[in-house]
């Protein structure tokens, strides 16, 4: 039988705008423009600084997640990695009396290891990414709570706190990471391989792409990014906490999906994540300034993810937005 040519459905014109590249950027601008008059504090210097300091670690985690989502997977364990890296590093630097650089190195190593464990299970056993990372989220965050007996760790060395508290350092770290990842994705063979893996793993394998290694590497990178974010967040809060980042999961997934990184894999740019994160942070901030309670914020964000996932499904169905 002769294969039929793929049918290309045509979506109405108004969908084009909704599904365009800069959708989340437009949303952010709209959001700020609409709510700035009602929330006087929104554009104040203090508030902007506050927004910015949450934006940085969120961006770092989201960059890692973006890599995983390009391969067509998902990493739900990122927030647990943030927590466990925080307490392991914290206890090493306080109870273990280790200097800050060893603490940081250990935190990053913890992230790499958990990412590697996730990646190994997903590539070697062919298990669905969401169940592997869901279970490892539970295990890792459980470990963090058990390890500290649910207590925070204070009195971290000042050298360590510097990284999170000096805006210049944390901005530089985030910017460097973003540029490196952008470089890898756009300018190197690895980037092309990663997209091909997410687009069609079979074609990729036939064409000599190391599909398993790329998938594995994406989870390792995601673990590393989460640990890096943990360094900055722990420093900023001056305390290592076993529940650090627990509220972050919705924001991270929301930011990437609203930014336009496809849950079906193979599509996404660091720039899209860059547009998605500010929207989520601005949304969070506006809702807070409007004095909405935590649960209202959770409901809004959950609906946001659902809406973004719906847009993603529509885009895929109508064949829009090729990167």
């Amino acid at each position: 039988m002769t294969p039929a040519a793929p049918e290309i459905s045509r979506a109405p014109r108004w969908l084009h705008l909704l599904l365009s590249d800069y959708f989340s950027l437009i949303l952010t601008v709209l959001l700020v423009a609409i709510f700035a008059p009602f929330t006087p504090g929104l554009l104040s210097r203090a508030n902007l600084l506050n927004i910015f300091s949450y934006l940085l670690p969120l961006l770092i985690v989201a960059i890692g997640l973006t890599l995983v989502m390009i391969t067509g997977g998902i990493d739900l364990s990122v927030t647990a990695i943030v927590a466990v890296a925080s307490v392991v590093g914290g206890s090493l630097m306080t109870a273990g009396h280790q200097p800050a650089f060893i603490g940081v190195a250990t935190m990053l190593l913890v992230g790499l290891l958990i990412g590697a464990a996730n990646g190994a299970m997903i590539t070697a056993l062919h298990l669905p990414a969401f169940i592997v990372t869901l279970a490892s989220m539970m295990f890792v965050s459980g470990f963090a709570v058990w390890f500290t007996q649910s207590r925070n760790i204070d009195q971290l060395p000042p050298a360590f706190l510097q990284i999170g508290q000096t805006l210049l350092i944390s901005t530089a770290v985030t910017a460097t990471l973003a540029l490196v990842v952008r470089f890898l994705l756009q300018k190197t063979v690895y980037g092309r391989w990663l997209y091909a893996t997410g687009q069609n793993p079979v074609t990729a394998r036939v064409s000599g792409v190391p599909v398993r290694s790329m998938t594995f590497a994406a989870y390792v990178a995601s673990g590393f990014c989460a640990a890096l974010a943990s360094v900055i967040m722990t420093g900023r809060l001056e305390t290592a906490s076993p529940v650090l980042g627990r509220e972050m999961l919705l924001d991270v997934i929301g930011a990437t999906v609203i930014g336009g990184i496809s849950l079906f894999g193979g599509k996404g740019k660091i720039a899209w994540t860059f547009f998605g994160v500010p929207f989520l942070v601005a949304l969070d901030n506006v809702l807070n300034l409007l004095n909405l309670s935590q649960f209202a914020i959770t409901i809004t964000k959950g609906s946001g993810i659902l809406l973004a996932a719906t847009l993603d499904a529509l885009r895929t169905r109508f064949g829009f937005r090729q990167s």
Binding site: M1, T2, P3, A5, P6, I8, L184, K187, T188, V189, Y190, R192, W193, Y195, A196, Q199, N200, V202, T203, A204, R205, V206, S207, G208, V209, P210, G266, K267, G319, Q322
Partner: protein, 505 residues
């Protein structure tokens, strides 16, 4: 003979302007058994897809039991008593035999929606008896062999009161005794008025089973009559008697003394390939003929390291490949053009340029960090676009999904050529593409050979192999059964060897 029960009248069908069926007319009586034979691509499957409600004919009509028959869907065909038993059986292995038979119409206990299993078992036992399958109705289908599953499919057809049952190559995966059992069953069912259309390449089976034979060639009926009016050699000459394409240029056989590029020794692969050895020399085009399911694609895939092998070795460019995986094969100069263009050859959403460059990225990167050298890459992509002549209207950024089959195939080929391979494994390189693109791909293949590359060409069209190859190997049931040198090429002999029906003359 009684009045016709199934009638095909002037059926025509074209895909993308290429005619596949050119006015097919024949009929068969109730209780008749008709053998439908023809080479791959002669139009048998298309015709049966029309009969089974998967496709609509462009022109012509069908009659069933004297009434006009126009199935809109496969379900529609089923309701009209037409059952289609595919090569890929449509059973649910995780359900029992009885459940598979009555999936959409379970007998229910009176007044409840519970399945009446005793009634179901009763019905199933009766059907299993009819088809002669010694199995329990509650037995799960995954415990059955392929032959047994086929009997379950027939039982399913009987349970829907089928009046016409179509078999598509039913015996390729059956043992001899299972085949005999199937034939005995068909012989038992015919007196009930059930008509059979039997599609097969195994001519001996067709002669044993059918009283009437219809031969298709290039979408037209070239022979129709009672089975005893045909002989095996007459059938074969009818099947292959097609006009030789003038697409193939003259070809000078290469010297056998040229150095070997690819050597395969004793390759076996879990029941699909048995002890395959072959050598391809510099500048040589080796054809691989065989029926569907003979193991042609499996051989190419095993050589390229896509499918696991159980034993044997592959030597490429004097290097033994170990481990055998696509990356190692590519690194040692192999390329594999898959027959599944859309699912294995291309990333349909990605652009023309991205697809073309997918396999050659490492050679356009700088050592540190594998940075891409965009200038050389872009130049290479442009160069190869000109070589394989991708439609110049298509931009480099256009997703390949929007291109025609011929252009897509050129892109897959271009992807491999960018890697400057020494050995190309081409699996059905001209399937589903138009004549213009076909001849361009032939020209490319000959050019590649002239430049000293070795080529393994798999094709279902014997003309294509005869026109292009230096040697043709014939594969049957996972073994190489004959080898033909260019001066021995003989269409009927090749087909005969592929059919495995008679000893070589």
């Amino acid at each position: 003979m009684s009045a016709p029960f199934v009638e095909f009248v002037g059926i025509e069908k074209a895909f993308f302007g290429v005619p596949i069926l050119r006015g097919i007319s024949f009929d068969l009586p109730a209780g008749g058994a008709l053998g439908l034979v023809g080479e791959n691509g002669a139009g048998k499957s298309t015709l049966m897809n029309i009969f089974g409600g998967n496709l609509a004919p462009d022109r012509g009509h069908m009659r069933l039991a004297g009434r006009e028959y126009t199935p809109a869907t496969p379900r529609d065909a089923e309701r009209n008593g037409v059952a289609f038993i595919h090569q890929e059986l449509n059973l649910f292995p995780n359900l029992s035999i009885g459940e598979n038979l009555f999936l959409t119409r379970f007998p229910s206990q009176r007044g409840t929606s519970l399945i009446d299993y005793s009634r179901l078992n009763e019905l199933t036992v009766k059907l299993l008896e009819e088809v002669g399958l010694a199995a329990l109705p509650g037995q799960s289908v995954e415990t059955l062999s392929t032959g047994e599953r086929q009997l379950v499919e027939i039982a399913k057809a009987l349970s829907t009161d089928a009046r016409v049952i179509i078999f598509d190559e039913p015996t390729t995966s059956l043992s001899r005794s299972e085949t005999e059992r199937l034939f005995a069953l068909i012989a038992r069912l015919r007196p009930r008025g059930i008509a059979f259309i039997y599609i097969s390449h195994t001519l001996a089976d067709v002669f044993q089973l059918c009283q009437q034979i219809v031969v298709l060639r290039d979408g037209a009926v070239v022979g129709d009559g009672p089975a005893h009016s045909f002989t095996e050699s007459k059938l074969i000459s009818l099947m292959v008697g097609r006009e030789i394409n003038r697409l193939f240029p003259e070809r000078n056989p290469t010297s056998r003394l040229a150095e070997p590029l690819l050597q395969v020794r004793g390759l076996s692969c879990c029941g699909k390939l048995q002890d395959i050895s072959l050598t391809i020399h510099r500048g040589e085009i080796v054809g691989l003929a065989g029926l569907m399911g003979a193991g042609r694609s499996e051989l190419a895939r095993s050589i390229f390291g896509l499918d696991p092998r159980t034993s044997g070795e592959v030597i490429l460019n004097d290097r033994r490949l170990k481990p055998l995986n696509p990356r190692a094969a590519i690194r040692n100069g192999a390329a594999f053009l898959t027959e599944n263009r859309g699912s294995e050859g291309l990333c349909l959403q990605l652009s023309v340029a991205d697809n073309l460059s997918l396999a050659c990225l490492p050679r356009h990167s700088r050592p540190v960090l594998k940075r891409l050298n965009f200038e050389t890459l872009r130049a290479a992509v442009e160069r190869i676009r000109a070589v394989v002549r991708v439609d110049s209207k298509a931009s480099n950024e256009q997703p390949v999904r929007t291109l025609s089959g011929g252009n897509q195939q050129k892109i897959v080929l271009g992807k491999w050529l960018l890697n400057e391979p020494r050995v190309l494994l081409l699996d059905e390189p001209t399937r589903g593409i138009d004549v213009g693109a076909k001849s361009e791909i032939y020209r490319l293949i000959l050019d590649l050979a002239a430049k000293g590359n070795g080529i393994l060409l798999i094709s279902s069209e014997i003309e294509e192999l005869i026109g292009l190859c230096d040697r043709i190997l014939v594969l049957s049931r996972g073994r190489i059964v004959r080898e033909f040198a260019r001066d021995q090429f003989h269409r009927e002999e090749i087909l005969r060897a592929a059919l495995g029906s008679a000893a070589p003359a």
